[in-house]
């Protein structure tokens, strides 16, 4: 009998579900939109529909359901503490899904923040297949992370671990949405990359992007321009990578990982982002710790969210297949 996990990636604008087998291959997938300010019950109904659709297609046994949410979560209780996109606060997601799906799913539903799910997915099926000490970093609209220590997800004392985005790197810098100044997100996120480009163009910097309507420039256009050799765009990505490197050098000396995986939309820049990251990590961390770590692009593609969510199920059924240190 084939064994599967259902992975649900619950983002701000859509629900992506997939039926994933033990080697991380997707048998079926299903995607539905979510709307801003949609009531909780309506989003839950779409998740239920998605799960039932995948269930109906399966030829085998489904071991559980993993749900990765773009949110702060309490993974032990299965609660979404705060999801700014969905405007959810303290939603007991596991319990609510359980009510809809029936008690046979008790003990079989896991909820975690999407970056933790992605970190796990990368370890099980992606760029981290031979690593048991890794950090996954997503550089998208914001900057977030998920960490694996000794082959297991690490959540911290109150599920606040791997919160990279608000490390203060430039205390005299720009004010961040969080109220502090100079957070990593103000320096290296997709939003920051777009803003810095717009500001440079307004100051009259030369760039192929100056043909565009400045307000419409996003990190996507900056990455595309950089790939075509545009100097302004390349410099802005180098700066973003430099500040990511400062934050990651701290991580390297504190947690001594063997792998740092860079994902998220901005990682489409490839070496234009990775190389300045590596350069700064090298300059800033201890040589012994730097020599242990590799900085690589994410290995899972567009379905990484759903595959990562499914990984939450596998982690709870079996120790990961990789080397796990005994301590």
């Amino acid at each position: 009998m084939n064994r599967y996990a259902i992975g649900i990636d619950l983002g701000g604008s859509k629900i992506s579900g997939a039926l994933v087998d033990q080697v991380g291959a997707i048998a079926y997938k299903e995607s539905l939109p979510t709307q801003a300010e949609e009531p909780v019950a309506s989003v839950l109904g779409r998740i239920q529909y998605c799960i039932e659709k995948l269930q109906s297609l399966v030829d085998g046994v489904i071991l559980g359901i993993g749900i990765g949410v773009a949110a702060m979560t309490d993974s032990k209780r299965g609660v979404v503490i705060h999801a700014s996109n969905l405007m959810w606060t303290n939603v007991p997601l596991r319990e609510l899904i359980l009510e809809r799906m029936g008690m046979k799913w008790k003990e079989c539903i896991w909820v975690d923040k999407d970056t933790n799910a992605a970190a796990l997915g990368e370890m099980q099926y992606g760029a981290g297949r031979n690593s048991s000490h890794l950090l996954y970093v997503t550089v998208g609209t914001g900057v977030g992370g998920g960490m694996i220590l000794n082959g297991r997800l690490y959540h911290g004392a109150s599920e606040g671990a791997s919160d990279l985005g608000h490390l203060v790197l430039d205390p005299q810098g720009e004010t961040c949405g969080c109220g502090k100044r100079g957070c990593l997100e103000t320096l290296s996120s997709g939003k920051a990359i777009a803003r810095h480009t717009q500001e440079a163009l307004r100051r009259g910097s030369e760039s192929a992007l100056s043909d565009m309507n400045i307000e419409e420039i996003t990190a996507y256009e900056v990455v595309e321009a950089a790939k075509k050799g545009d100097n302004l765009a390349k410099n802005i990505l180098t700066s973003a990578g430099h500040f990511l490197g400062i934050a990651l050098a701290y991580y390297v000396d504190l947690n001594n990982p063997e792998l740092i995986i860079i994902g998220g939309g901005v990682s489409a820049a490839g070496e234009l982002l990775l190389e300045p990251i590596r350069q700064t990590v090298k300059e800033r961390s201890l040589p012994a710790n730097f020599s242990t770590v590799k900085v690589v692009p994410a290995g899972l593609g567009v379905d990484s969210g759903a595959i990562g969510a499914a990984s939450l199920v596998w982690q709870n059924f079996e120790r990961p297949p990789m080397k796990v240190d005994k301590e």
Copy 2:
């Protein structure tokens, strides 16, 4: 039958041994000096003497020997990678002690860096008794650390975890012994505190310390002066605490601990050091993560090195008695 562990703290200037029971009480202790450039065999002989002396005094069973070393260590293999004070490189300490003590001690000797041993000792018997996610920081000649995650010591991928001392906090700052600029050790260590005080006095700052021979001022005198209300000394400790706070805020957002324990000689300053640490951690970390963590002084006194080393034995015989998260 009473059960004991032998803890050996191998520092740059002395060997401190203790026979420690399961509640962390010292039944007997023994201390011997080490000399600079003393041959390895001679140091080993003193350790052996110390162990045998403690053995001869015991009324009960000795479960094992833990050795904490002021060094980079490979705890899995029991090797001292590099101990600058002892001038040791790649000394297979566990194996060499085993040769002297006999094969009945196979599987019963553990070697780790002293700050890891201290972190474990604090969790088992000191300030961290109710915590399973903690960082121990020693502020002495240098700055070092040891971390406990999920109730277990965490070593990292290549035993480089919790290397706080060389986090670069001021890239334009003083050159550190490691070759980089502005490492935490150049800002907050005992050496830095002494040097900053000497420099201020040479510039003519007013202080009760100006009566002393400037070259003879160490962190000890600065802490004593600060306790008596000397403003220069207090300001220098505030600055040291501020930079410790910056480094610890990074730790708080990355690893979300519930406890940070400050030990080492400079921690004798008490609140004069702890308060600026807390203040900066509060300013720099995320509110949810800051609200989870307490910054407290170490709970073990002058024998913390030997008690911590003995804790290496207990950790390997039983899970610690505190809450250990399942993940």
